[in-house]
């Protein structure tokens, strides 16, 4: 059996064992099987990666189906892109599985949880390994199903129904776009195999209207899965699930499926400049929106969720300017530091006896030293402060954006400042200052067990050094990842070189831009420091704005200025986005579709009166209508 086949098979076996026997197998064995299969799968990926000769290959498992002249095979594609994603999925996945052993130890659904988690890994691997759009779709649906099951894992939460429904409707809208795109691909290219489609598409001209439709519809799919405007609100709500799930599915892997799909189809996207422009601006808007809402959230997981939305927006912004490598690079670094932050948050929640409100935390750095240190590294990484991972990837995206459009760049940099601010706000409120929780919680505070801290340390290490995989030349690096991934974009570069053309930026400009973005990150950090450390501000509950004003009144003049110039407008913006756009527009629009169907259903149901006479009458009307319609030519002469 080929090693490639073994990679998705191992988690599937884990799922089957745990799924069938979860009530009989002891917990230790469940954890061992669950985590062990993913680690073994990671070992296989690593082996393949180390022996990879740079030649992409497609390995056919078997001929799946033959319809007319369409031959669809169940086959896996091994190339640079799938390898990168496989490494992320199994690598980060292994760590999160390990972490879950500790985190879910006291949960009664331990076995079920690991079964679902393994199933998720299986589908995610299918998604990135499939060699055609149909297998990708199988993975796409499968991860959606697992995510759905895992969001509702703790269904005691009252909001669960809403959260799951929202996730469901939004993802299905996305899937609809994806399906239509696949049918368009099928009719136009007669194949859904990546290699065939791209080979044929390479002969087309940029701006082809069919390609435009295909790419737009594919992007609709990506919007749903990767939480972009207007289909993003399900992601913050999805935090109802256990924290390892948030880390694995809603931060590191599944939500980046949309980015994977666009990078995979980079040739099609390069041929559709209009779509790229749309992708870029939607990404930017999402990045800004996510970051601004994140500013004033008080739930530790909600902050991270909005931050994920925002970071995904960054990636799409990168894709929009044809910066495919930086986007993929950001996927990788983001997987490291966001998984780390979520797991750290999980460790905090664990220690705080399921408290998630940061207003009730504070000063935790003494009780949770390892969590604190790793969380700090993650925060620095996401804020974009060198030399940690986030700096390199985010900066590369911004560099490409600068090339493309200065306004976009400006907003991007501003968003980056917001990111730095809200992340340090989170860090300071949780780990610094005095403890604000109850006595019981304080008494209970403890560092998490080794199974939980070990993954934290590993991820912290990766977040710290992850950036060095792709150090730009200006900093004396070899841009290893870019070189590694370059063959993927060769065809696209051939058909439309201008999309990739980088005007030769002088090294000094490049350096200036870097310094600029580091500087704004520092401003965000400083602002957070001033407010939350020096002034010891604690955000107040909603409806208590008077309290906030009062507190600020007795503080420095700077605070008032800050408040008037910065906090209030942004606060208003944040509230505006959150309340008006989020609730009015998105909910009305997206949920409206669902409600509309339900309402229609209610109306349709009324036709089912139960009265036989009415039924027969309706049939007669139907026949009359059929006759009149089809024979209108005969009747009218």
């Amino acid at each position: 059996m080929s090693l490639l086949l073994l990679i998705p098979l191992l988690p599937l076996i884990g799922f089957l064992i745990n799924g069938i026997g979860f009530r009989k197998i002891p917990k230790t064995l469940v954890g061992l099987i669950g985590a062990g299969t993913v680690v073994a799968s990671f070992a296989c990926v690593l082996f393949l990666f180390l022996n990879f000769d740079g030649q992409p290959r497609v390995e056919k498992v078997y001929d799946w189906i033959t319809v007319g002249n369409l031959n669809l095979s169940f086959s896996f594609q091994l190339d640079q892109l799938s390898l990168l994603f496989m490494l992320i999925i199994t690598g980060v996945g292994s760590l999160i599985h390990l972490y879950s052993i500790g985190y879910m130890k006291h949960d009664e659904g331990f076995g079920k949880f690991f079964a679902f988690l393994n199933l998720f890994i299986f589908f995610m691997l299918l998604l990135v390994m499939g060699s055609n759009y149909v297998i990708l779709f199988i993975g796409w649906e499968g991860v959606g199903l697992c995510s759905y099951l895992l969001i509702g894992f703790w269904n005691k939460n009252a909001n669960y129904g809403d959260a799951a429904r929202k996730a469901f409707i939004m993802n299905r809208i996305g899937d609809l776009g994806y399906l239509l795109a696949v049918f368009l691909i099928l009719t136009n290219f007669g194949s859904v195999e990546f290699t065939d489609v791209f080979r044929q598409a390479a002969g087309l001209k940029a701006g082809n209207s069919t390609i435009l439709w295909i790419t737009l519809l594919l992007f609709v799919g990506a919007m749903g899965k990767s939480a972009q405007i207007p289909l993003y609100t399900w992601l913050p709500d999805a935090m109802a699930g256990p924290t390892p799930v948030s880390a694995l599915i809603h931060a590191a892997t599944m939500v980046t499926a949309g980015i994977y799909m666009i990078v995979r189809s980079n040739l099609l996207y390069t041929l559709a400049p209009v779509t790229l422009e749309v992708v870029g601006w939607i990404g930017l808007a999402t990045a800004l929106l996510g970051a601004s809402i994140g500013l004033f959230q008080n739930d530790i997981k909600k902050i991270l969720a909005y931050s994920t939305v925002s970071q995904l927006g960054y990636m799409f912004m990168g894709l929009g300017v044809a910066a495919y490598t930086p986007a993929a690079f950001h996927v990788m670094t983001h997987a490291f530091f966001k998984a780390l932050l979520f797991l750290g948050a999980g460790s905090v929640i664990h220690a705080m006896s399921n408290e998630q409100d940061i207003r009730n935390m504070g000063g935790l750095r003494k009780a949770l030293p390892i969590t604190f240190l790793t969380f700090l590294i993650g925060t620095i990484a996401i804020a974009g402060i060198p030399p940690f991972a986030g700096f390199f990837s985010k900066d590369e995206i911004l560099l490409h954006v600068f090339e493309h459009n200065k306004l976009m760049w400006g907003i991007g940099v501003f968003t980056s400042m917001l990111t730095s601010f809200y992340m340090f706000r989170l860090l300071f409120l949780v780990f610094f200052g005095n403890f604000r929780g109850t006595h019981e919680q304080q008494h209970h505070l403890h560092e998490s067990p080794l199974t939980m801290t070990l993954p934290l340390m590993a991820l912290a290490l990766l977040s710290a050094i992850g950036g060095f995989f792709n150090v730009p030349e200006v900093l004396g690096g070899g841009a290893k990842l870019a070189n590694f991934l370059a063959p993927l974009f060769a065809a696209a570069q051939n058909v439309r070189p201008e999309a990739f053309a980088m005007a030769e930026l002088s090294h000094s400009t490049e350096l200036a831009l870097m310094i600029g973005s580091v500087a704004v990150a520092m401003i965000g950090l400083a602002a957070a420091y001033v407010i939350f450390i020096s002034r010891k501000t604690v955000p107040v509950g909603e409806g208590q704005e008077h309290g906030l004003q009062k507190v600020i009144y007795h503080k420095y003049y700077v605070d008032e200025l800050y408040d008037a110039v910065f906090v209030r407008p942004v606060n208003a913006l944040s509230v505006f986005f959150h309340q008006v756009i989020d609730f009015l527009l998105i909910d009305l629009l997206v949920e409206g579709v669902g409600k509309f169907v339900k309402g229609l259903s209610k109306e349709f149901r009324l036709a089912q009166t139960g009265a036989t006479g009415f039924y027969i009458f309706a049939m007669v009307i139907g026949i009359a209508a059929l006759l009149a319609w089809s024979l209108r030519g005969l009747i009218l002469g």
Binding site: I20, I65, G142, N155, S601, F614, L626
Partner: protein, 468 residues
């Protein structure tokens, strides 16, 4: 052909078996009969025969369709346990016999070469089903359903028969190929208007049988009122036979006027998809939801008929197979779950009855989940490929003709996921009773078999498709 004759004899034999004291022999005997008929059916593989002066024709397509019908009948009979609320006064032998007879009718509908055979086959099937629908004699709902089914069904038969008479008037024959050569041969006087009207009447009658909108109104009430076992039987066998007949009739006889019936069918398809899927959303009873789902699947199958490409028969076959297996599974689980806690003496068929099913019996929950996923058309199950093949016939026909239908179909399959998943959510994520549900070995075997088939066909669809 041997299958039709043997089934008729077996049915009569079954009636005699009813005189035996022991009822336990009935179920295995009936299963054996069906298996024998299935085997007899396969003898003619790769042969073409015409029987009784061009009345019936058997070929591989006939064998494929009838195998699906016999398979679903086998599965339905295997999950039968008791008939009606009144154990004392029921006669299982009669119900088994009537089921066998109705299958004879269904097989005649699949292999007809003459409109007389189509009419008789349809009537044998329908009249048997009227009886089966009302078989729960003590139940008000069952009686009501039988009455409604009968009145509407015979009304549809009247229309259908009048259509046949008009077509006969226009062409002078009941023979399919003779009608076909009249229609496409282009008689010197031009095609008679009688033929158009007759064709539309026949179509209306057939569309009623496969429950396509706006002739679907009987479906929810009848499916809801009939005993669940026979609902499962009706929604699978009638649909398969009806579509086999519809496709055969339209392609052999009426290819010459494709432009006419294509319009009608696309209109009906869109309406059926909309009505079936959207109404299913609001149902509170799983049984009623499955009834509307059956309407919506008629819509998907109609796409393949309307597209009329060389791939259409195999698409219809695969879709019917996937749909039948998944539907039987769904109803089989419903029967067990619903009778656990009756409400006012009636089985509890609401969504709430499924709460916490995964804890009560993991096998039931898993089979149910697989069947719902398959009905929803999610990949790696048979249902996905069914939809895929059906949609690709529409793609082959061309976007200008079928684009609109295709968009509606894809949209509605999204809606479908919503109501199918409600059952899965109830059984996996909600908490309910914790009392375990026990099942008998044969029942368990059937559930495992159908689930394995659904997944197996999803993984290796070509294994079966090579035969189609």
């Amino acid at each position: 052909m041997l299958s039709i004759i043997s089934l008729s004899l077996f049915g009569i034999l079954n009636l005699f078996l009813g005189f035996l004291k022991s009822r336990r022999v009935l179920l295995p005997a009936t299963l054996l009969f069906i298996a024998l008929a299935f085997a007899a059916n396969l003898l003619d593989w790769n042969h073409q025969y015409v029987y009784f002066r061009d009345m019936l024709r058997t070929n591989n397509l006939f064998i494929n369709f009838s195998s699906i019908i016999l398979l679903t009948t086998f599965l339905t009979v295997a999950i039968s346990r008791s008939f009606g609320t009144d154990e004392e006064h029921t006669h299982p032998a009669e119900y088994y016999a009537i089921m066998l007879f109705s299958v004879v009718g269904a097989l005649m509908m699949v292999g007809f070469e003459n409109l007389i055979m189509l009419f008789i086959g349809l009537e044998i099937l329908s009249v048997s089903l009227y009886v089966l629908t009302g078989s729960d004699k003590r139940s008000l709902r069952s009686n009501e359903a039988a009455l409604k089914y009968f009145l509407m069904g015979s009304f549809a038969t009247g229309i259908f028969l009048f259509g046949i008479a008009l077509v006969y008037g226009a062409t002078g024959s009941f023979n399919l190929s003779a009608i076909g050569s009249y229609v496409s041969g282009g008689p010197t006087t031009g095609i008679s208007p009688l033929l158009y009207v007759g064709l539309l009447f026949i179509l209306a009658g057939m569309l009623f049988k496969v429950s396509a909108a706006p002739f679907h109104f009987w479906t929810p009430d009848v499916y809801d009122g009939a005993p669940t076992l026979f609902t499962a039987f009706m929604s699978t066998v009638v649909k398969t036979a009806g579509f086999a007949a519809l496709y055969r009739l339209l392609t052999v006889s009426f290819t010459g006027v494709y432009g006419l019936w294509w319009q009608v069918l696309t209109g009906v398809t869109v309406l059926t998809l909309l009505v079936g899927n959207i109404t299913a959303v609001y149902q509170s009873s799983v049984k009623r939801m499955l009834a509307y789902s059956s309407v919506s699947h008629a819509g998907y199958l109609l796409i393949a008929v309307a597209a009329k490409t060389p791939q259409s028969p195999s698409a219809i076959l695969f879709y019917s197979l996937a749909y039948s297996i998944a539907t039987i599974t769904g109803f089989a689980v419903l029967i067990l779950v619903a009778e656990q806690k009756p409400i006012e003496g009636r089985p509890d068929e609401r969504y709430e009855a499924f709460n916490g099913l995964a804890k009560r019996n993991p096998l039931l929950a898993f089979s149910l989940a697989v069947s719902m996923v398959s009905l929803a058309g999610i990949p790696l199950t048979a249902g996905f490929w069914g939809k895929f093949f059906v949609f690709s016939t529409a793609v082959d026909r061309g976007m200008t003709n079928m684009g609109m239908v295709l968009v509606v179909a894809v949209l509605m399959s999204v809606v479908g996921v919503y109501y199918y998943f409600r059952v899965i959510i109830a059984s996996y994520l909600k908490t309910g009773d914790s009392e375990p549900i026990g099942i008998r070995p044969l029942y368990r075997f059937i559930l495992v078999l159908t689930t394995a088939l659904t997944i197996g066909l999803g993984l290796f669809p070509d294994v079966v498709r090579q035969l189609f």
